[in-house]
Amino acid sequence: MTAAARRLGRDPALWGTVIALWALLGLFVLYPLARLSWIAFFDGGRLALGPAWNVLADPNHRHAFVNSLLLAALVGVGGTLLGFLYAYTAARAGLARGWLTVLDAATLLPLVSPPFTTAIAMIFSFGPRGLVTYHLLGIRGASVYGLASTLFAEILTYFPIAYLTLRPILSAIDPNVEDMAFSLGSSRWRVFHTITLPLAVPGFANAFLLLFAASLADFATPLILAGNSFPVLPTQAYLQITGLFDFKGGAVLSFALLVPAAGVYLLQRYWVSRGAYVTITGKAGPATAVKSVAPWARWALVVACAAVGAVVAYFYALLFYASVVMAFGANHSLTWRHYHVIFTEGLKAIRDTLVVAGLGMPLGGLFGVLVGYLVARRRFPGRRAMELVSMINYALPGTIVGIAYLVAFNDPPIVLTGTALIIVACYVFRYSPTGIRATVALLQQIDPSIEEASQGLGARSGTTFRRVTLPLIVPAFFAGLGVVFIRSMTAISATIFLVSISWTLITVRILENMTELALGPAAAFSVLVVAIVFVVMAGISWALRRLQAAGSLQVTSILGG
């Protein structure tokens, strides 16, 4: 027995918590994955790689695999550049507070809306009769389906992730360092590319990998925009199962996605994030007027950001417009009818979504804080393994998680399909890792001696956690809970497999409406989701600000990652 195990025996609260968490992780992370691999690679109880190989050897599937990687890489590069533009402008252009708020809003909008809103707006704008292509530019027969538009829509949807990753890093680079270079006679450009850029490199890599993973998992945008000639893997896996009733094929395709997803995650975890914490010291030098951006460059940056912001604003204005006219494109008289529809016929979806999100939010927040705390502060056997396992569902594309849950929980011994619990569990275990990471990051900045003092005075570990640690990590709790809420309102890739008669979700309704004829309700639902998320986020930010006044550490964003 190791010393760690002996300590565990002396501390029943810790012991109980660890066992409970492992039971949950086993049930909702490892078990579904095991059932999925059983279906994909076993036949009648025997390992049979032949059928799996046949699925992968299909040239169309290989084509889809390559397309997925290509799309993800391009989205990674494009989104990181755009995110850097925004982050650099926010951190260095010396904008007034009001403008910074505008910048934040422009980046928040795509992040908090259902994933295919951009795709819908793209079709209206750039199709053969698009507002831009046909009515503005007079182009005939423009094609909106394919790589270019999928790429454009995904970059616009996901660049905020890069912004949120890069901005704290750029802000944390002490301007005094740049000042020193200036006073030594460097040009602005030289300062930029020899100081600012190298310091931001870990952020770049991190942002690229996050975007790569997001695109790899995205299923709704390609479903609407990719068209016939550009199939991607998540969409193919979905169609394989829902259309061809081929669970095995879908499972195998999902596992094909697992390889790059796991690779990206490991890269990010063990290479990029190493040393990422050093810049966050919380001790900035004396304030200095930032001089690193020339006046003309400042204007160029602002104009570029404004242009991107205008595109985002235009897309959402279009969405809102589609929600208040009778039939977009045919009858443009104003009406509230679609809102009436969603609040009567769609009320169940709204209620279900709010219940699921409302339940997932506290559970996800709590789970994140607990795991984060144990992993960062306590010593017990299997600590590293717990950290890794808790991240699995987060790192996997949603399609895999959804299919795995469907396969695992539809038959005895554990039947959960058709319940809200399966959707809540899916969201909690998929999206609480943000809370875990926020907790770990926060705890790394809090001296363990505070807790040791509490225990030295005779408090049990549970008491210490509740009365000393918990108040200190409240911001991380809110961060975790915010992310779980937002994702519960907007995610679709996993849960489209889990909705049922009794529990349906707004995002699934939007997709159904889109594929029926009901564009108005789809747009109205989307507007509603954005509104709800904004209200809840504002509430969380307000709570965070109040708590921070009490001296807690700053959490720059509740959305990071």
């Binding site: 053969p128 061809l244 339940l359 506290p362 399909t417 809200a420 008669i501 594929t515 004829l517």
Partner: protein
């Protein structure tokens, strides 16, 4: 300390609430259904049923392929009692999977043979012919007549401008493919040859049968092949579209209803099937502006719908042939048409 206590109490409430959520709804006066009909048609019908009988129907809408995949996946522990609406080839495929329980409603004997499965595995509630639907403005600008033959759709003027459904998820698509096989005298090679040529004009294959109607209405696409009920709905919404029929003929598919094997509310489910196959439901189509052709011979076809159908050559899809060949044909379509190398 008091703060921590309230926190724990609150957590207990959440956990209890969660436990309540795990047990799915089951009561005497309700039933569960997957609807293949879009909500805007299924909802008014099922509400009428609720008013008439006091039985509440909980339903979710899925494309036919998705609905079928779900029922098959849930075979060991069925979540619904009825599969409501959707083209008959979907039901024919379901019989082979052993997911239905035969049931013959009172209207069974009065129905023509093609509107029922001989053993009662499914019964038709409506008839739904396919049509060509084109954007009026596109036709005018290109100086085109509304397509009146399958060959007309191969016109290069439509290059990259047609939208129709993906056979992997949509029953509309499968009915379309069997129509094409039928007009080619069941010569499958010839039919697939035609479909490969048609693909050049197809902009995108949509997930849902009606998925292309809005783009055609908006002019984002020039035209496509849809069920009449979707096409007339597009027109009714105010989009300027033209409906036409090919002179070689086009298929019609019965829309069916079936009892799920192992249904948890079989009595309520049978009442729904009785009601849906009777004039009680089918005479309501016109009032709710649902342009299905009634299957029950006692219900008169609505005059404006009859006007549209006048002179059109329409043939029923052979459901036995379709059911037996569905998977093979769809697989072949995916391999040779969808993923055609060009």
């Amino acid at each position: 300390m008091p703060r921590a206590r309230t926190g724990l109490g609150w957590l207990a409430v959440v956990v209890l609430a969660l436990a309540a959520l795990v047990s799915p709804a089951a009561a005497a006066d309700q039933l569960n259904a997957y609807s293949i009909w879009p909500e805007n048609w299924a909802r008014p019908m099922l509400q009428e049923f609720e008013q008439a009988t006091g039985i509440k129907v909980n339903f979710v809408r899925f494309s036919s392929g998705e609905a079928l995949a779900r029922v098959i996946a849930e075979k060991g522990n069925p979540r619904v009692d009825v599969l409501f609406g959707g083209p008959v080839e979907t039901f024919a495929a379901g019989i082979k999977e052993g997911i239905f329980e035969p049931y013959k409603p009172p209207a069974f004997n009065a129905l023509p043979a093609r509107f029922k499965q001989a053993d009662g595995y499914w019964v038709a509630i409506a008839d739904d012919p396919l049509v060509f639907m084109t954007n009026a403005k596109f036709l005018k600008e290109g100086n085109l007549k509304a397509p009146a033959s399958w060959e007309d759709l191969l016109n290069p003027a439509y290059k990259n401008m047609l939208q129709m459904a993906d056979a992997r998820t949509s029953g509309t698509a499968v009915t379309r493919i069997f129509s094409i096989i039928e007009v080619n005298g069941r010569n499958e090679d010839k039919a697939f040859d035609y479909m490969r040529k048609l693909r050049r004009n197809v902009q995108v294959y949509t997930k849902s049968g009606g998925g292309g109607t809005l783009p055609v209405g908006l002019g984002q696409a020039a035209g496509g092949i849809f069920f009449i009920v979707d096409a007339l709905d597009t027109k009714a919404k105010g989009y300027d579209v033209v409906i036409s029929f090919p002179k070689e003929g086009i298929g019609t598919s019965a829309e069916a209803i079936a009892l799920i094997k192992g249904a948890k509310n079989p009595e309520a489910a049978k009442k729904l099937i009785d009601w849906a196959t009777s004039p009680a439901m089918q005479s309501l189509y016109a009032r709710h502006k649902i342009n299905f052709v009634p299957a029950n011979p006692e219900v008169k076809i609505e005059p404006s719908l009859a006007e549209v159908l006048k002179g059109a050559k329409i043939f029923p899809i052979d459901d036995a042939f379709a059911g037996a060949n569905r998977k093979r044909v769809v697989d072949r379509w995916v391999a040779e048409v969808l993923n055609a190398k060009e």
